[in-house]
Amino acid sequence: MPQAPKVDALIVGFGWTGAILAQELTDAGLNVLAVERGDWVDTATDFATTFAQDELRYYWRKELFQRPAHETLTVRNNVAETALPMRQLGSFLPGVGVGGAGVHWNGQTWRFLPSDFVARSHNIERYGKAAVPDDMTIQDWGVSYQELEPYYDKFEYLCGVSGKAGNLNGAIQPGGDPFEGPRSREYPNPPLEMPYAPTLFAQAATSLGHHPFPHPASNLSRAYTNPLGVQMGPCTYCGFCEKYGCGNYSKSSAQTTILPVLMRKPNFTLKTNCEALKLNLAPDGKSVSSVTLADANGQTYDQPAELVILSAYVLHNVRLLLLSGVGKPYDPKTGEGIIGKNYAYQITSSVRFTFDDKILNPFIGAGALGMMMNDYNGDNFDHTGLGFIGGGYIGVLQTGARPIETLFDPGDLTAWGADWKKKTARDYLKTFFIATHGAVMSHRGNYLDLDPTYRDVFGRPLMRMTFDYTDNEHRMSDYLTDRAVEIAHAMNPREVKPKYRKGSWDVVPYQTTHNTGGAIMGTDPKSSALNKYLQMWDVPNLFVMGSTAFPQQPGYNPTGTVAALAYHAAEAIKSQYLKAPGQPLVQA
C-alpha cells in the first residue's frame, strides 16, 4: 500500500474535539494533519440566514446528518435478539462534515457535578454497597471536577457561553444554579432574553421551592470576541438551532470559534472527503504506526504519524478501535475485555401543558434557551428509599416549535382529522413542554461490538449496539416526570399531559444524540481503556477524544465535558507527552 510522508500528529475526525486538538497541537509547533470523511462546511454559506429555516430539508430529510446508506449500525435491546440495521436515523443524529455534530447541536453547555466524576465511590459511600448492584458497572472517572475546572472555563470562554454563575469559588450566587460545582469566574456573556413559557415555568418551580436558572447557552446573547480573536454576533431567536446550522455566527461551533484562526496556520492541513479505515499497530503492538485512509476516489493509502488522535463521533471511535484490533473487545458474558464496554445513553421524558388564555409564541427559540433546575440532578437530592441512583435536569427548553416536529408524533397515529385540525389551530400558540433529561448508568449487558452480518460501503462490519434502559433509569425518569407534572399543575394550565418513557429503548423517535462510552477512562488498565488524559493505556501514542471516554452518562448534555476533557488532554500532551513521546502519562 502506498505511504504518505509522516506527520507529527494525525487527527481522525474534524468536529469539536478535532479542532480543539489541532489548535492546541499546532500552537505547540507540531505539523498536524486532520482528516474528515465529510465535506467542508462553512456556516455562513451553507446555512445562510435567508434559507436556513427549512424544517423539511434539514430535519426531516436529515441533510446535516450521517447517511445510513454510507454507514449505520445495528441495534437490539438485548443479546437474545438479532440486531438489525438502523435503516434510517431516529433516536440520535450523528453529524457529518467539518464541525461534525457540533454544527447542529443546541449549544447546551453544561458542567457535570463534582460527584458525577466519582459516581461509584460516592454512591456507595452515601447509600451503601447495595445502592450499586453487581450488574451496574459504573466507575469513577479517574479525573476530578477540580482538575477539569480550568478547561471547562476555557471552553466556555471559547464559545462565549451566555449564562449566570451559581457558585463562584464556593460562594452561591443569586439567579444561578446553586447546585453547580464551584467555578472560577462568571460566564463570559449574560443570559439570553427569556420568553414566556420558561418564565412561567420558573415562577411555578420557585413557588414549589425549586431553584430554576437560565440554561447555559452557546447561543450568544451579545456580540463577543473570544480569546482566539474570533468574533461572534448576537442570536436572533429564529427557532432553527437544534438540528440546524447557524449562518449568523451566533451558535458556537468549530467554524465560528476556532477555524478562522486554525485554517490560516502553515503547520496545519485538513483533508476532507478522506475517511480513516483502520489504525495500524507497530509490530510490537505498543504504538499506532499509521492509519489507512481512503480518499473520495476509493484509493487507499497509509498515513504514518508520531501521534494519533481519534476524534470522530463516539460511535465511530469505538468502531475504528474494534475494526483495527486495538484493545481487547468486551465480552458481556464474562465481563472481560474493555473496548465496547459501558455504552450508555440518556433517558428523556416530557410533560405537555396547554393554556386557554396565554399566548406563548413557542416558535421563538434558540438551542439552549430556557429555564432549568438541577434540584433532582445527580446526587443533589436524597435518594434513600427511592430505588435508584442518579438524576437529571427538569426545565422548559424553548428551541422553537417547528410545526412538523411539534404536531407529528410517529408514536401517535391518531393525531389527524377534523377534530385534530380544530384543536391544533386553537392550541399551537398556547402549548409547550417541560422536558426531563436524565442519566443512564452503565450496565453489564449494554455494550458495543462488531455485527456478524451487516456491512458498510467499504465491506467492513457495522457496529452492533446492544442497549436497553434498566429499572434504575425507568424509576429515575418516572420520578423526574412526576416532579415535572407537579410544576406543570402549578402553572395553572387548562391541560397537563405527561409522556413517561415506557418500555425498552426504541430506535425510532428522536431522543438525544448523547451516546457515550465504549472506550472508557479510569484509574487502571484492567477496568478502563484510557487514562485520565484520554491516552490509551496499552498504546501510548493514541489518544481517544469524546464521550467515548465516559464510564457512564450523567444527567447533563455531554459537550461541555467532552471539550473540557479534550483541553485537559491537549495540555498534558503539550506539557508532558511531547517531552517523552510514546510514554504513558500515568503509570499503570
Binding site: 429555516q53 446508506a69 435503516r87 492541513t269 478522506c274 389527524w416
Partner: protein
C-alpha cells in the same frame, strides 16, 4: 424536477470537487488525490456555492402517481386535514403534489437509507425494516388498499364516503386492517408523516400553498430575527408568515 436532490448549489460543490480530483489525477499529487487538502489559506470560500434549496416545480400534475394512486392520496390526505371554516384542507394546500414530488426524488428512492439485506421483521424498537423504498411502499400499499375496499365495499377508497374512509384509515393505523404484501401500519405512519410535512413545510416544496398550514396555527415561517418579540409575553405575534421565497403579497395583489 431535481431528481438527485442536490440542488444547484450541491451540484456546483460536487463538480468543484471532481475538477480538483481530475487535476490531481493528471499528476499533481501522488496520494489522497480525491480528498480536498486545505493548508494555510484560511477557511476556504468559493463564490456561488451556497447550497440553496431547490424549489419543486408545481406547474404540472403528477410525476410519480398514476391516476388511481393520486385519487387515493388526495382522498386520504383530505380526511387527515379536511377543508373547514378555519381554512384550506390538504388538497387545496397542495399536499398531494408535495408528496408526489418527494416520491419522485431522493426521498422516494430512500437514497440516504441503509437498504442492504438480509431482511427480517425485527422488534418494534428496531424501526423500519421494510425492503420497500417510500415510493415502492406507496405503490404497493395503495394497490392493496383499493383491493381491500373493492373486496369489502365494491369501490376504491376514493369513492367511499367520508366516514367510511375515516374508519378504514383508523383500521390501517391500528393494524386491524391488513394489506397484501405491505405492512399496513408502516404505510399509514409514512402517509401521515408525509401529509403533515406537506401541510407544514416551506411552500417551496409544493405543499403549504399560500402558507395555509402556517396561517392555521400562527407559525410565522422562515423569519430570521424574532429578538424584538422574545419578551413580549402573552402578546400575539403581529406579522404574517413568510416563506424562504417571501410571501404572495410581495409579488401578487
Amino acid at each position: 424536477m431535481d431528481s438527485d436532490g442536490l440542488g444547484d448549489g450541491g451540484r456546483a460543490r460536487l463538480s468543484r470537487r471532481r475538477l480538483l480530483s481530475a487535476g490531481a489525477l493528471l499528476g499533481a499529487a501522488p496520494l489522497g488525490v480525491g480528498a480536498e487538502a486545505i493548508r494555510g489559506s484560511g477557511p476556504p470560500w468559493t463564490p456561488n456555492t451556497a447550497a440553496y434549496p431547490q424549489a419543486a416545480d408545481t406547474g404540472h400534475r403528477y410525476d410519480f402517481f398514476t391516476g388511481p394512486e393520486a385519487a387515493f392520496v388526495e382522498a386520504a390526505a383530505e380526511r387527515m386535514i379536511p377543508k373547514d371554516e378555519l381554512g384550506p384542507g390538504a388538497v387545496e394546500a397542495g399536499v398531494p403534489i408535495f408528496i408526489d414530488r418527494q416520491l419522485a426524488g431522493d426521498f422516494g428512492k430512500a437514497a440516504s437509507w441503509y437498504m442492504q439485506g438480509p431482511w427480517a421483521a425485527g422488534e418494534k424498537t428496531q424501526g423500519y425494516q421494510s425492503r420497500y423504498t417510500p415510493a415502492q411502499m406507496y405503490r404497493a400499499a395503495i394497490a392493496g388498499i383499493d383491493k381491500a375496499t373493492q373486496r369489502a365495499s365494491n369501490a376504491t377508497f376514493a369513492r367511499l364516503g367520508g366516514d367510511d374512509q375515516d374508519a378504514f384509515l383508523k383500521r390501517l393505523a391500528s393494524g386491524d386492517q391488513q394489506l397484501d404484501g405491505v405492512d399496513a401500519k408502516s404505510y399509514f405512519k409514512l402517509l401521515l408523516q408525509n401529509v403533515m410535512e406537506g401541510f407544514f413545510s416551506d411552500p417551496i416544496y409544493g405543499g403549504n400553498r399560500d402558507m395555509a398550514g402556517w396561517k392555521l396555527i400562527g407559525f410565522p415561517g422562515a423569519r430570521y430575527d424574532l429578538t424584538a418579540y422574545v419578551t413580549q409575553h402573552g402578546k400575539p405575534f403581529p406579522l404574517p408568515p413568510v416563506g424562504i421565497t417571501g410571501r404572495p403579497a410581495w409579488t401578487r395583489s
